[in-house]
């Protein structure tokens, strides 16, 4: 029988090589934007933070931790995406053309 854990492990086993392949193709020119973008993506943990802080009847401690986590994750998301876009805007092919 396939359990939830087993499915999760399959996902992991597929996602890691996919990530390795995708990142290997990124031009070294863009390694800094790549890092800030993946940094923003890692803040997907905001999903967990929302679930913990928004759930009905969860203890006050968990709720508080969750709300703090939502704030930190949001800082991470906003700063990560904005700085990535700010950097990529600067990459131009020819002088003068925008």
């Amino acid at each position: 029988m396939t359990t939830e854990i087993e499915v999760s492990l399959y996902v992991l086993v597929l996602a890691v090589p996919l990530g390795l392949e995708l990142v290997r193709r990124v031009s070294p020119l863009l390694h800094t934007p790549l890092m800030s973008l993946t940094n923003a993506i890692s803040a997907i943990s905001v999903v967990g933070a929302i679930l913990v802080s928004g759930a009905e009847g969860s203890p006050a401690l968990s709720k508080t931790l969750g709300v703090i986590a939502v704030m930190f994750a949001t800082i991470n998301i906003v700063a990560g995406f904005l700085i990535t876009d700010r950097m990529l805007k600067m990459f131009k092919k020819k002088e003068g053309s925008k």
């Binding site: 854990i5 890691v16 193709r25 923003a40 999903v47 994750a73």
Partner: protein
Amino acid sequence: MNDSFWQAAYIIGALCVVLSIKWLNSPATARRGVFAGEFGMLLAIIGTLLRAEVVDYQWIFIAMIAGSAIGAPLAYLMPMTSVPQLTALSHAFGALAAALVGTAEFYNDVAAGEPTTGFKMVAIVIESLLGYLTTTASLMAFGKLQELVPTRPMTYKGQNIINLALFVFAAVLGVWMVLMPAPPWVFPAFIGLSLLFGVLLIMPIGGGDMPTVIALLNSYAGAAAAAMGFVLENKLLIIAGSLNAASGFILSVIMCKAMNRSFSNVLFGAFGQAQTTSAAQAQTKPVKSATPEDAASILESARRVIVVPGYGMAVAQAQHKLRELSDLLGKKGVQVDFAIHPVAGRMPGHMNVLLAEADIPYDRLFEMEDINQDFAECDVALVIGANDVVNPAARHDKTSPIYGMPILDVDKAHTVMVIKRSMNPGFAGIDNELYYLDKTLMLFGDAKGFTAEIVKELSAHK
């Protein structure tokens, strides 16, 4: 709202995350990549907010508004030289969020009267360990990059043994909690150890190794998010987290290769210790120096010039003057290219961003392996603020601490010009034999000031 909505949102979100990284492979599609990432994140957040379990919105919205209010100015006000610091700080926030969620999950189960053990606890232990460790380690890296903490490696006797002992202790506590419900003090102790371990991990690492470390912390932050995916049985978190972990891992491997060092050497080697001896005899040998006028006329009569910028150039804020120089030379029919060493700058690819900020078109920027063979045919190699990455000792001097590190072969150019403040050996304290070659002209001065003077000379010749 029924379950299929958020499930669909998560699946599309996961696809967006994958596409986002795929589109980042070339500058032409990169901004589309950012958009895909943002869209994926938005779907994930909206999907989650609409889940039936989430009933309490007020505090979530307040936290989100506060987070945006802090995050946006951070991203817009940080100068481009500080992108590594911002990334480190951002890692700390993200990792802390993951760690707090792990902690909350743990205490939820405690409060429900059924402390977690087994597989879910394995995931919580990994999530909390990586989360807390990455938080303090990233803050330390931020401190070192911002020079709030001494950038020199801080070492003491038995450091590695103490670190290892701490890690083993934390691991024992972790295993204990997985196998059986442990006493209430165990989880807080585990958190404390993880936080402490993060600090100790970064202490012995020198400023020069920060590119590798930031990439590694990026990887840990991703792994923590993936572990959270296992705790919450959420596939989107597993996918996004492991993509991020893979990305950070590859980048740190690339950085290690660019410095010819192994992971363990970066983490435990305390770079910058052994070399102080070789730096002593530096000032005695003769060097040739030149004035801005000389430099301008040599550059003007060249056909091809390759500029090698290093972090020193960025510190001096010389990149805008450098662009003026390359524009002027371009108008005079000189081909000007830029050779970028993988570890130029403070994080992977940092130098490209700094030059792009100065409006230097990216098709003039070349990676080391693409341009190294061209040095033999170029008339002038102009080195600005780079040192170790152009030291020929890395090729032949087995006693040199940088022996084996891939370098830019500037010594093969017809003429080498080095803009440098003085003959003081650089941060790593390694003497550079390039400076004593017959073909090398030392241009003593501030990178920005000297470049400006060359620019002035060149425009006067018009």
